[in-house]
Symmetry: C2
Subunit: 453 residues, 2 copies
C-alpha cells in the first residue's frame, strides 16, 4: 500500500498509555468525553458504527422516527480528538494476563486500561428457543425488522381471505410491562387506531388487538402506584388489553400462551427481563444478580489490573443494598467517574471520592400527550405535563443539533397529523437479503488474483 | 373473523368497472391521480409498500438522506379516495383471456382495465453472473445495502493490515456514465474526500480511488457536449478517475476489468444499461428495443382488450422515430394520458388527442454546488445556477410537505457542514438477517393449532 494512505497509528502509540473502551453506548461515550484532554491514546470498539439513543428506539420500531434521527456514527463524535480512534468490530474475548482484547478478524488490541461498557441483552428465562418467534428491541436492525413486521402484518391481512389468519395478523402481543413494553403498546395502538385507520379498504386496522402481558401485579414496576395505575388506564383508553399477573408460558410460531390463555399473534415483542452481556466471562470475574460483573466503588473489577466496567453490564449496590437499575443515567455517571479515575491515575493525583449514583428520577411515555414522571419525593407528573417534560428531556439528551431539530419537527408533525413519517417496509425480500449477504463476502474476501502489474 | 374487521371490499365492487394498476412509481401514481373522480374501483398493486422518489435514491445510498425522506407509503396517498385500494404483493402473471392478475399467495385479481407501470431493471449485457458481484440502485433496499457496503469498506480498511486489501477496500468502481453513474461518483468522492476525511486514524479516506467507467466516448450521453465536458472536468476536480471508452469486460469478486485494466475494488456499482421489466411476457405482447412493450398512441397494448402500459416498461417512438427515454416525465405524462383515456371511456366520451411527449429538458447533479441542466434550445446551465435549479425542481416534485421540509433542511445542513446525516451501517450482521427471515415465516404461516375455545 502506498504510504500516503496511512497516517499515524493510535494502536502503535508513541509511549502514551493505551485505554481501550468496549461499547459506544451511554457509558462508553461518557468515558471518552471525560478523557478529552488525557495524556493517553484511546480506542473505542463497537460492533456497529453508530451510537444509538436507545430511549427513542421504540419510535423507530413504530415508524415515527427514522434510524438516522436517533443514531450518530461513533467516529464522527471524535473528529476533533486526534488521539481517539474508533474500531468497528466484534470483541470475542479478553486476555487479562497479557492485556489484549481479541477482536474478530483483526490483530489483538493491546491495552493498559480497559473499560467494559457493553450493556445488556434480553433474557429468555431459560427458554432460548422463544427467541426464534419473538422480536426484541436493542439495536437499530431489530427495530427495523420489527417495523417491517408490524407494517407488513396489516398489508398481508388486507390481501388474505382466511378470517383466523387475518385475526392472527392483526393481533400484537407485547411481553413485559416495563417502560419499553408500555411505550410499544401505546405506540402500536396509536399506529393501528389512528395513523392507519383510514388507509385500508378490506380490513379495519382499528379492530387490531394489542395485548400487553405483564407477569407481575402492575405495569411500570418501580414507579409509584399512582403512576402505574395512570399508565394502565391510559393504555386501556387507547384500546390496549392490559393483562397483569399473566405469566408467559409459551412463545411459538402461533403466538403465546399467557396467564393460561392461548393468544394467536403473528407479532410478539419480547420486552421482559434483561441480563448483562457476558463480559464477566471474558475476564473471569465474579457476577451479581442478572449476570452483572461486580465492580468496586471506583467501577474497577476487583482482582484485575486496570479493568473497569460501567452501565448495564455491571452489578453495583447503593448504600441501602439495592442493585442500581440498568438505566442511562447510571451508565453515564459511572462512565464519567471512570474517566475521572483514569485521568487522576494518568497524572498521578489521588483518586476521587467513591462513586455515588445521583438519582434524578424516571420517566416513561404512555402515548400521545401522555407520559409519567417520578422525580423523587412528592414530584410526580402525568398526562400532558409529563409528556412535555419527557419530550424536553429526550431532546436535550439526544446527540447532535441536526437530530434534535429533525426529531422535534417529526414530533410536531406527528402531533398535528397523527402521521408517522417512516412507514416503510424494508429488507423483506429474500433477494435483497442476498444483496446484504454480498457484504459478508466483501468483509471476508482477500484478493485471489495476483495484483495487477 | 368477526365481521367488524371488514369494511366493504373493492375487489367485490358493486357493479363499477375495475381498474388495476401494477406499479406505484411515477407512471402508476399519475394514472390513479387522474382517476380521482372516476366511476370505477381502482386497485394499485406494488411489490413494496412505498412510492420511491428514484431521482434522489443515490443520496440515500451515499448517506445524505434517510429512506423515509424520499419514500411515502402508497396507501397513505389514497386515504381520501375510498374507491382506491392498495395491495402489496408480487404479480406473477396476467391472464388476458379471463382478465385476471395473478398475485403470489393471493386470490386472482379481476380487472376490466389494466395498466402496466412496472418500470425497468438493470441489464447485464448477457452477463447475469455479474449481478452477484455488483450493486445496483433501483430500490430502497438496494440503496441501503450499498450505503452499508460503502461505509463498511472504510471501517474494515481501518482495521486491516494487508496493504493490498486496504487498497481494494478503498477502491470504488462505478460502471456507466449516465446521470446515476455521474451522481454516484460525485457523491462517493465527496463522502471520502470531505465528510470522512478527518474521522479515521490509520487510513486516509481522501486517498480513496473512485473510478467511473463509461463504454462510450463521453459522460451523460444525450446531453449537449458542453455539459458532458463540464461534468467530466468537475468530477475530475473532485478526484474521480473518469475512464471513457472503457468497456467493462469482467465483473468478479476481485473487482472489474475495464478498458483492459484490472481494477481491484470491493465495491462495484452497476449503473449501465437498463431494460424494461418483462411485462410483455406476462401478456404475450410485442416488444421494441430494450424489451419495452410496444404501445399505441393512447398507450394501449395493441391486440389486447383494456390493457395499457406507461413509463420505463414501454417502447414508444416520437415523431422523429426516436425511442422516448426512460425518464420520470415520460412516465408521468403517459400516466396522465391513460387516466384521461380511461375517464373518457368510462363516461362514453370521445378519446383525447394522441399522446405527445412534452420534453422539458434534463438535469443531472455532478456534486456540491454543481449540476448540469439542458432545457432545450439554447438554455444550458452548469455550476451553482444549475445546482439551484436542480434542487428546486427536485424539491417541487417530491411527494409530501414533510419530506420537502426534511430534505431541504438536510441539504442546507450538508451544504454548511459537509456532513451526511445518515452514515449508518445496518443489516450487516447475519444474526439480524435471521430476524428479517423470521418475517418470511410470518408471511407464509397459517395457524397449526386449533383456534382457542
Amino acid at each position: 500500500m502506498p504510504t500516503s494512505t496511512m497516517t499515524h497509528d493510535p494502536h502503535q502509540p508513541r509511549g502514551l498509555p493505551r485505554i481501550v473502551i468496549i461499547g459506544a453506548g451511554f457509558g462508553g461515550l461518557e468515558v471518552v468525553r471525560g478523557l478529552n484532554l488525557a495524556p493517553a491514546v484511546v480506542t473505542v470498539i463497537d460492533k456497529t458504527n453508530h451510537n444509538l439513543f436507545q430511549p427513542l428506539l421504540y419510535q423507530v420500531a413504530t415508524a415515527a422516527l427514522a434510524p438516522s434521527d436517533i443514531a450518530v456514527p461513533v467516529r464522527s463524535l471524535f473528529t476533533d480528538m486526534p488521539r481517539v480512534g474508533t474500531l468497528m468490530g466484534e470483541v470475542t474475548g479478553v486476555d487479562t494476563d497479557n492485556k489484549l482484547v481479541h477482536v474478530k478478524g483483526v490483530p489483538d488490541i493491546p491495552y493498559d486500561h480497559l473499560v467494559l461498557a457493553t450493556g445488556s441483552v434480553y433474557s429468555w428465562f431459560g427458554h432460548d428457543d422463544w427467541a426464534r418467534h419473538a422480536f426484541t428491541l436493542k439495536t437499530l436492525d431489530q427495530a427495523l425488522a420489527l417495523r417491517s413486521s408490524l407494517l407488513a402484518a396489516f398489508e398481508w391481512a388486507e390481501s388474505r381471505t382466511d378470517p383466523d389468519e387475518i385475526r392472527r395478523l392483526l393481533t400484537f402481543v407485547i411481553v413485559g410491562g416495563g417502560p419499553t413494553g408500555v411505550e410499544m403498546a401505546g405506540a402500536i395502538a396509536e399506529l393501528a387506531h389512528a395513523t392507519l385507520a383510514r388507509d385500508f379498504r378490506r380490513i379495519r386496522p382499528n379492530s387490531a388487538r394489542i395485548v400487553l402481558c405483564e407477569g407481575g401485579p402492575s405495569l411500570l414496576a418501580g414507579f409509584p402506584d399512582k403512576l402505574s395505575a395512570y399508565a394502565r388506564h391510559h393504555l386501556e383508553d387507547l384500546g390496549v388489553e392490559v393483562k397483569t399477573g399473566a405469566q408467559v408460558e409459551t412463545v411459538d410460531r402461533d403466538g403465546v400462551v399467557a396467564g393460561g390463555e392461548r393468544i394467536f399473534a403473528a407479532n410478539v415483542l419480547w420486552a421482559a427481563g434483561t441480563a448483562a452481556t457476558p463480559v464477566a466471562a471474558w475476564v473471569g470475574a465474579e457476577t451479581g444478580k442478572g449476570n452483572g460483573i461486580k465492580i468496586d466503588e471506583h467501577c474497577a473489577v476487583p482482582g484485575l489490573d486496570g479493568v473497569y466496567a460501567v452501565g448495564d453490564c455491571t452489578y453495583m449496590e447503593d448504600a441501602a443494598g439495592h442493585r442500581l437499575p440498568g438505566v442511562a443515567p447510571v451508565a453515564k455517571q459511572q462512565g464519567a467517574h471512570v474517566a475521572k479515575v483514569l485521568m487522576q491515575r494518568l497524572i498521578g493525583e489521588p483518586l476521587p471520592q467513591p462513586f455515588r449514583y445521583d438519582d434524578q428520577g424516571q420517566l416513561a411515555m404512555v402515548g400521545r400527550s401522555a407520559a409519567v414522571a417520578d422525580l423523587g419525593g412528592r414530584v410526580k407528573m402525568t398526562g400532558l405535563v409529563g409528556w412535555l417534560l419527557w419530550s424536553v428531556v429526550h431532546l436535550f439528551f439526544l446527540i447532535g443539533a441536526r437530530n434534535r431539530i429533525t426529531v422535534y419537527l417529526n414530533w410536531v408533525w406527528a402531533w398535528l397529523t397523527y402521521g408517522r413519517g417512516a412507514r416503510l417496509i424494508t429488507a423483506i425480500d429474500p433477494q435483497v437479503r442476498r444483496d446484504f449477504a454480498h457484504l459478508d463476502e466483501i468483509a471476508a474476501h482477500r484478493p485471489v488474483l495476483p495484483p495487477a502489474a
